[in-house]
Symmetry: C2
Subunit: 435 residues, 2 copies
Amino acid sequence: LEQEKTNGIQVILEELQPYDIAEIYVMLSEEQRPKFLDVLETEQQASLIEEIDRDEQLELVEQINVNDLGEVLDLMDNDDLAHLLDEVTPDVKEQYLSGMTTEESTAVQKLMEYEAETAGRIMTNRYVWIPEQYTVRETVDKLKIFAELAESINYIYVINNEKQLMGVVSYRDLILAEMDEKIEDIMFSRVISVPVEMDQEEVASIIERYDFLAIPVVEENNVLVGIITVDDIIDVVIQEANEDIEKLSATGKSIDFDTKVWIASYRRLPWLVLLLFVGLISGSIISQFEETLQKVVALSFFMPLISGMTGNTGTQSLAVVVRGIVGQEMNKAVVTRLILREFGVGALIGITCSILLFIIAYVWQGSLVLSFVVSSSLVFTLIIGTLAGTIIPLLLSKLKVDPAIASGPLITTLNDILSLLIYFKIATVFLHHLL
Amino acid sequence: LEQEKTNGIQVILEELQPYDIAEIYVMLSEEQRPKFLDVLETEQQASLIEEIDRDEQLELVEQINVNDLGEVLDLMDNDDLAHLLDEVTPDVKEQYLSGMTTEESTAVQKLMEYEAETAGRIMTNRYVWIPEQYTVRETVDKLKIFAELAESINYIYVINNEKQLMGVVSYRDLILAEMDEKIEDIMFSRVISVPVEMDQEEVASIIERYDFLAIPVVEENNVLVGIITVDDIIDVVIQEANEDIEKLSATGKSIDFDTKVWIASYRRLPWLVLLLFVGLISGSIISQFEETLQKVVALSFFMPLISGMTGNTGTQSLAVVVRGIVGQEMNKAVVTRLILREFGVGALIGITCSILLFIIAYVWQGSLVLSFVVSSSLVFTLIIGTLAGTIIPLLLSKLKVDPAIASGPLITTLNDILSLLIYFKIATVFLHHLL
């Protein structure tokens, strides 16, 4: 009876996508999960692992029968498996690898040698390759054998005896060709490939440009070592966009709707504490101009406006740089042109806003000198704020410093400090006119 | 001789990808472009149009020989063509459509009836469909005919006499099946499809979850009307990420490295001018507490710190909501849980930061009362700032207001105002102790 029930469940599960199976698994209680796992086929277990979150992956792997584990890990995509193995202790990693076939464990260990976020790290070895001498018929026969196992069969890669990538044949080409034609004659030989060490973001922008479903990855000498498929690229695009947004809002590591209170707080706190100290610098600048401020309290009315607008123009520039820097060759000409452009933008918006502010300040406070101090400060602070938001991230990326440092709040707070300095300096110069 | 040269160029061009041809075209001078266009085949012209920017598209289309234009437009993907036709006057649109085949012009006009950013707008009609009764052999034969024309041949869609979607067969299935098998027997019938009116961002998250290469689009009654391919989804993901970033940095319409000074300024100005006026509100709040401030100038030292941190915690929350709101069903339970979570986060970071600030303020200014005023204000402002950054975007999305309004700078500036109000209220209450 138990067996029949299991069979019934398996029939249902076979109709489901891996994502749906993962959704069911996540909803189950701690006690139900092992039973559910037992019902799954080895292949389903492998794709289930690929679909769930890192924390749950580790839990799940521990629940799988030790004898089956090697087989399950063999069936996992190498890039996903590498991510998983990164999280466990060397001992456990050794144990997991020992259960796998030599071929698969060598492949995943090789993958783990590449740096994080490079092409080598997200590629898969589940592609179909053929020697140059094959005919269409031989190719189709090989494809039949590998169709189930390969992650992508849209392109079949043609290699020579040295494993060098010589060409590519698409499924479309095979359909249209005669069975006796030689692959050499129908293959496309100007293959676009990426080197193993290329940054994943660059790979993404190449795939996006060319609308490829997969791209081959080569080592030096054009030796084919793997392919990157478009579904992994979507994940890369989302991941990189999230990183950019975290950079602009300084949330640090990602927080979503399900993150627990204390974890979300813990991830947000470091930045806020840092900003607290930077805010104290602003405070100490103001304290240095205590006398000026005491004499003309009205100066303080315009403080939030000036520092707020300067901070914002900096964030706007930062957003342009952060989004634009990828896939752009950042040579001297590009950088110079960008800085000049942003200088122009800063000047143009600075002049426009300060004319407006001059009129409003005069109507509000009735002092020509005060209006002049406030509006002339705004021109300078907006130009400097725009340039800071442009140059600082460029500099950090040039110095290969973790660009997360050039985050929105930091630019904002830095611009706060700069704008207060400029504002009070100008005010102090004109102080005797203000009294 | 001229003819031979043209043939030579064509041989080179045939080896290039559409993106590369577009790169060459963009680099050519105004005079060279028409000559280059003449060398291109109709198909190459069509894919060239798809690859270049909107402004250049319109220029290019005008340069194409009027007799060829219809054919070129016929060959373009419908979603790209619809975008193009959106930009021209009704007269020109009429003229372009009249040159096309009835079938293609009807299809593109139908596409244009769907709302922007929905599944219907990004789908293509270049898919392969077969009736249920087909055998594998008949399917492969049909595939041979349509392989060149179809945008995606990874999946073949099975429909009944009412054009309802009954199942899907992948290229993989065809390879593994016997030629005489019936499609009905090998097809997968639990097809995941999306309705025409679904938001493109939701479509993207479905494709991302299931790692599909294409997804069918259906009208009511499950009638198949098109498919959405993964390359369009990558564009959607990038576009939506850019929109989120524009939202957080209030750059308005997108600005990249090549945007001209005056256009970039024009796009950034509206927000800055709005922020100028909002900044004046902050100013007028401070001016209402002029007396308090005049008596205790030290209060102004902590203004940038308090408003800066409140602004930042709001932006952090905003980033979480903006990124998380997509693909999430925003029912009461989810919203309540999120608001409670953010309240907890606000309280936790508020208490932590204010303890720190209490100590620092006391060491710096030596006044217990001032330290108490400053640090207790920070608790309140951080909680309120966190909630504002959460609730305002949720509310706006509920009210279906253009969510761009809930941008980072607006939350920041609003939090500025709130934090100043709280700070000075508390300070005024304790004023007699501060003197």
